[in-house]
Symmetry: C4
Subunit: 98 residues, 4 copies
């Protein structure tokens, strides 16, 4: 099972990097508390989007759009890898049978 999880290492690391980057961004741009910054990043790049936990400035809003796009890219990538992992087994067994 470990080798099957290996392809997910890259999206997992990217997700953690985005969470870190977003948290630092909200702290520096809009002086969020650490907890608020973690939460705002988490609900933003996952597109849950409860709303703005604390006021976000125009600069912070541009940062937010960047965060969303980065999150989308990583999420699409993760779905792509998942489909690939599932397909791999399927293809291998189909080609062997034929």
């Amino acid at each position: 099972i470990w080798s099957e999880l290996k392809p997910f290492r890259a999206p997992l690391i990217l997700t953690i990097l985005i969470e870190l980057f977003g948290t630092l961004g909200y702290i520096f741009i809009d002086h969020f508390s650490l907890m608020d910054a973690i939460y705002q990043t988490g609900i933003t790049f996952t597109t849950v989007g409860f709303g703005e936990i604390a006021p976000i400035s125009p600069m912070g809003r541009l940062f937010t759009i960047f965060l969303i796009v980065a999150g989308f890219a990583v999420f699409s990538y993760a779905v792509g890898i998942l489909v690939d992992v599932i397909n791999k087994g399927r293809l291998l067994s189909l080609l062997k049978e034929n």
Copy 2:
């Protein structure tokens, strides 16, 4: 049609487990009513994210992030399986023709 639905049993069970887990979490951590806890879980792990139905504590917000990530994983898994089921028919017919 029953055998085609079989691969969706796992994501369906996982979805119900997450809904249960989230409901219990909001009741114990932030003393939500049963109805509010069901609704908050439902709009959170599906990323609809209307907002916080009742006040959520810092502990509850960390729980919320966990719920979102778990929901994402199950959703990606379900999409992957769906793509796989659609592909299976396609691949079988293509390989037989060739």
Copy 3:
């Protein structure tokens, strides 16, 4: 190009049916205006989730969860078909070359 769009007829019809069903639901359960019901359905089953446009009752909230799940199913189905359509061309050309 018409025959390539044909596989999308089913998800398109399902999307319109969900939009209709949701609109009727919000009108009957929570006495939404037609415009509010259309908007609430649209932002709910697509998981955009701006929030509750007008107050939603416990019954309406259960209906909302059902709407989200139905929307998810149709969206996953549409993505699966899209991936399938793109793959079909790829597979055909690869198998012919080999």
Copy 4:
């Protein structure tokens, strides 16, 4: 790496066109400021959905639904292409081995 990024040119251009279209729409229909229009478009077509940054009229709400549907189509298309790009490498190597 450049040739691998080439299939993403179409969804990238479509995303920029939607962002432009949405921004112009909110400015003309509901007299949003440029910054608000950019932000409202960004959080809407990505389904993040923090909420209505400034009041949106019935006409603007119909426009919003159109924006969401267009965003969904482009996002599904991008995921489809990504899956295709990942699959291409896989298929090529599998068919060569067999």
